[in-house]
Symmetry: C2
């Protein structure tokens, strides 16, 4: 069975995110997959995702780190709760804090690879650390504190 | 004389950024202005800039903090160097690190106001702290370490 993207298991009510919602036609629609003990995401930036010409826009990198980390958090919490893979999950994390260290300019063109690892999984809080690589070179590192989406954000939840 | 946006003083070579480049037609084209002792930016998110429906996408907030902070850094360094306001500047900062604390869900719809302050201006490094407000409520706080763009990023510089 093909490994399913974490975001494809989100309920419809929380699948409109600009970064990772499968229902946001104008969005980035990033996908996160478990591979062994890490969660990975691959994304090819568009030509307009530029910073200074030739390099990837830092806000895009921050966006990828953000959504991939909340996806990783959801998957980690899902696993920790003993739920079966492939089952639609009600776990939906949002970002409490986002930190990105830009180690070197990220060349624009090739695929960007994000490799994330949950370093703390405690009930409603998951801390995720990640690396952002292009052609094997670590260009940035991320650290996200993710928390379960509060009830106040679920006003449109019916699915 | 109308107060000019910091980004409108950037040279053409560094005005293609997805977040703040005036020459990036698909970009956000944010503008930062000095008002007293702070630098402010106003941005109305588009409907597709959603996180969970009803709230602003965190990656957009991170992008706004990122570009507005490097703009604030450029303006602060420009001032510190004693340059005259309204003169085109060669100062162009990029982000070494970006930190955003999301204090509460940011409602999607109204204008977002960013208020930034340089808290450290030392040669090629400027630290900028900012608040992200909607309708007077602080929804997020940012801290950016900005550094002058390295020569390795200026391969397309001719203007």
């Amino acid at each position: 069975m093909k490994n399913q993207a974490v975001q494809d298991l989100y309920g419809e009510w929380c699948s409109h995110c600009y970064g990772c919602g499968r229902l946001n036609e104008k969005g980035l629609q990033i996908k996160s997959f478990w591979e062994g003990e890490t969660c990975v995401c691959r994304f090819v930036p568009r030509p307009h995702h530029t910073a200074i010409p030739g390099f990837v826009y830092g806000g895009l990198i921050a966006s990828l780190v953000d959504c991939h980390s909340t996806g990783t958090a959801a998957a980690a919490a899902f696993r920790a709760a003993g739920a079966k893979a492939g089952t639609e999950s009600d776990f939906r994390f949002v970002t409490a804090s986002l930190h990105v260290d830009f180690l070197k300019p990220t060349p624009l063109g090739p695929e960007i690879l994000l490799v994330a690892k949950p370093v703390e999984v405690k009930g409603k809080k998951v801390v995720v650390e990640s690396e952002v690589l292009v052609q094997g070179v670590v260009c940035a590192k991320g650290r996200v504190v993710a928390v379960v989406a509060p009830d106040s954000m679920k006003m449109n939840k019916s699915s």
